[in-house]
């Protein structure tokens, strides 16, 4: 029997992901502990999250510095000693800052969990930000900032966020002057206010030793902590108006382009539909934007579009870096692709491809307890649970070309789009 390579093998329906139902414990002080158990390796990831993203800061850089300096030392242990001890057990720590929340994640072999968590207990209660550590961090981050200023992508991101979110907490950005204004005391007060006695959540994944929950309660359940104060955050919002911004950068070989608009938070009824629409536009390799600007015209190494839902607001963005000689052509093509989605329905075959791609992507993103814990952390920002994915999958499966066109007509009007270009045109 000769092999016919012209015929693709039969494709089967993609199975839906199996979400672990997180076990929920409540520590003595009200801190919720979510546990996703499983995995074949004797390792654990523990993630501590706080409502301490840039949204809550009064002084620019406070949130980022505090998060970055979480392991800078306590009354008991200096930064060096802390690092020595945590490293000795082969554990890794990672800090992450976002607009709404921030986190400290610890990865460890489960046989050393108890020892490692003792140090983290001390850190979360007693970090005292020694002046010398602060100065080291300040010098390093100032240098990183200066280097970042030379990158067209960084500059365009700043302008774009500011246009989309205005002077709200989501739209602010640092300037070099802010690095002269920030002090060690600012960091300590931020920590005291938003970490030490503040509401915290813990998400754990991996293979857990016996007595795990009791151990965590002993270490993290005693500290007095505020209850979940999500409902006390206020967001004034702002009157969004599209802008066109161009910043020239001499010697640039590439221009950074960002086109998009203010949108809505993940609670909005059109949120999932827009996720599908922006995938068609620029969310995968065969998307409209990639096919046009990269595969057909070679303008860029990469272009993409996506939406992001924050707690109180959201954004739609197309982003790319292109050769300076094609900047204007690229901008034109981007508007052209957006217009096509307004004017014509997505053909069935293409829509089915995108649906399969998205289902496969969710399956991959939910592959195992560690991956699912990561998803869960992001869901918790809005106090969602895994039913979010059930809802999302339903939309993916049911949304029609007609629905997508209607969304494009509503949200992709050119006069609503902000355009930022940094480079040369």
């Amino acid at each position: 029997m000769t092999l016919d390579r012209n015929i693709a093998p039969l494709r089967r329906e993609i199975e839906l992901p199996n979400f672990i139902q997180p076990k929920e414990y409540r520590l003595q002080n009200g801190t919720p502990l979510y546990v996703l158990e499983g995995g074949s390796q004797e390792v654990i990831a523990i993630e501590f999250t706080f409502n301490a993203g840039t949204f809550v800061q009064d002084k620019i850089l406070s949130a980022g510095f505090t998060n970055n300096m979480l392991l800078s030392g306590t009354a008991k242990l200096s930064a060096n000693e802390l690092a020595d001890k945590i490293d000795f057990y082969g554990a890794y720590t990672q800090v992450e800052i976002g607009k709404d929340i921030c986190s400290l994640t610890v990865y460890t072999m489960n046989k050393y969990l108890d020892e490692v968590m003792s140090y983290i207990e001390d850190v979360l209660e007693n970090t005292n930000f020694p002046q010398a550590e602060f100065e080291t961090a300040l010098a390093s981050r100032r240098q990183q900032f200066l280097i970042g200023q030379e990158k067209v992508q960084q500059l365009s991101r700043r302008h774009f966020n500011n246009a989309v979110f205005g002077n709200t907490a989501y739209g602010s950005y640092a300037t070099i002057e802010d690095y002269d204004k920030i002090t060690r005391d600012d960091i300590q007060s931020f920590f005291n206010r938003f970490y030490k006695n503040s509401y915290m959540e813990i998400i754990v994944s991996g293979q857990l030793p016996t007595g795990f929950a009791t151990m965590m309660d002993n270490k993290f359940g005693k500290q007095k902590r505020a209850t979940d104060h999500l409902r006390y955050f206020e967001y004034a919002g702002h009157e969004y108006k599209s802008e066109k911004v161009f910043e020239e950068k001499q010697d640039a070989l590439q221009s950074s382009i960002r086109i998009g608009r203010n949108l809505f938070s993940a609670n909005h009824e059109d949120f999932f539909g827009m996720k599908v629409l922006t995938t068609v536009l620029g969310g995968y390799f065969g998307s409209r934007l990639m096919s046009n600007l990269r595969e057909e015209k070679g303008y860029t190494y990469g272009i993409g579009s996506s939406i992001m839902g924050l707690r109180f607001d959201g954004v739609f963005q197309i982003a790319t870096e292109v050769g300076v000689d094609v900047t204007n052509d690229a901008v034109k093509e981007i508007y052209h692709e957006v217009a096509r989605l307004r004017e014509t329905e997505v053909p069935t075959e293409e829509l089915n491809l995108v649906k399969n791609y998205l289902l496969g992507k969710i399956l991959k993103m939910a592959d195992g307890p560690f991956a699912q814990a990561n998803l869960y952390k992001n869901l918790r920002i809005n106090r969602f649970d895994f039913s979010y994915f059930q809802d999302y999958i339903e939309i993916i499966q049911s949304i029609s070309a007609k629905d997508l066109k209607a969304l494009a007509e509503q949200y992709f009007q050119p006069e609503d789009l902000t355009e930022v270009v940094v480079g040369k045109r």
């Binding site: 390792v43 065969g286 070679g298 870096e321 491809l353 399956l363 592959d367």
Partner: protein, 412 residues
Amino acid sequence: MIAYEKFTLDNGLKVIIHKDASTPIAAVNVLYDIGARDENPEKTGFAHLFEHLMFGGSKHIENYDEHVEKAGGENNAFTSNDLTNYYITLPKENLETALWLESDRMLQLAFTDKSLEVQRSVVIEEFKQNYLNQPYGDINMLIRDMAYKVHPYRWATIGKEVRHIEEATMEDVKSFFYRYYAPNNAILVVAGDIDLTQTKKLVEKWFGSIERREVPERKLPVEPKQTKARKIVVERDVPVDVLYKVFHMCSKNDPEYHTTDLLSDVLSRGSSSRLYKSLVKEQKLFSDIDAYVGGDADPGLFTFSGKLMNGIKMEAAEAGIMSEIKKLQDELVGETELTKVKNKVLSALMFGEINVLNKAMSLAMAELAGDVEKANQEVAKYEAVTAKGIQEIARSLFTEENSTTLYYNAKQ
């Protein structure tokens, strides 16, 4: 430990299969034994350009990516000085799609003019985006050019110059394919919740009929031992001074490799490491510093790199590094410190075995290094490293005659 089954097809294709029942995702990894080191010095950047062309359509399949997406999968590839690696992850029920795709482009590419034209532009944009338009983007190229006089590691994977890519012809491309892209020059790994017998059948079905090709024997010029220190000083439009100091080291397949790797960890893995504590925190010579090994198939480079604090002179920064090196040469690393770096590596290896694609790649890389079982020997090799071994490497590697130094000065 990663369990696997290995067999070789008649056409020379090495196949490794790993079963993992815990995941709904299957990973298919195809590793070709061709990298930038195999290029013609007048036609560099080719292996990488070729990686792009592999996505431009094959004999029976016009659009590779479309089929991956339809199957709910994702894919990517990377090229290094030693190898080119392609990988797909997708829901396990669509495994056969991946095998169909990979076997067709191993068989023959579509070789269209359009594809070459477009990918040429894309690669040129990549060259600009990552190397020319980025502050410090040319450092790798400067170092390589200075540290290697003869061996092909003297040019970077992206290519020596944009011109080489601009001048690539269809003839060049075709001959490159037939010379290096062959079943007898490749390793296929399939991993996931798959049935071993069924998978073997599918692999034989799609790859069995591809004929072996004549792949030239690799005969690369050996880099002569460096006998005198080398130094370059440049000035660039960047905000911060940067210092690089590199030393020739062994290949990743050498018995001394794991010792050299732990030596780099003692120096700079994590905030409890020596360089960070001494040169960043205490002496404030650098705002950031790193030391790392090159994990190359041929003898590579051990690199020190750091961003200088404002007002610090290059000579002082360099002296700081040399003084840390001297400590390692004079005194043995203590037991606690050695246990620490071993624990960190152990932990990282454990975390590395969670993901099915990671496992597939580890198996492929180990097979390329000569024995797939090496993927399961890493832990033991790291555990066997001794303090004496580290001191010996520090003494033999870190000599001025073996060094290449780059002073990358910010224009005032």
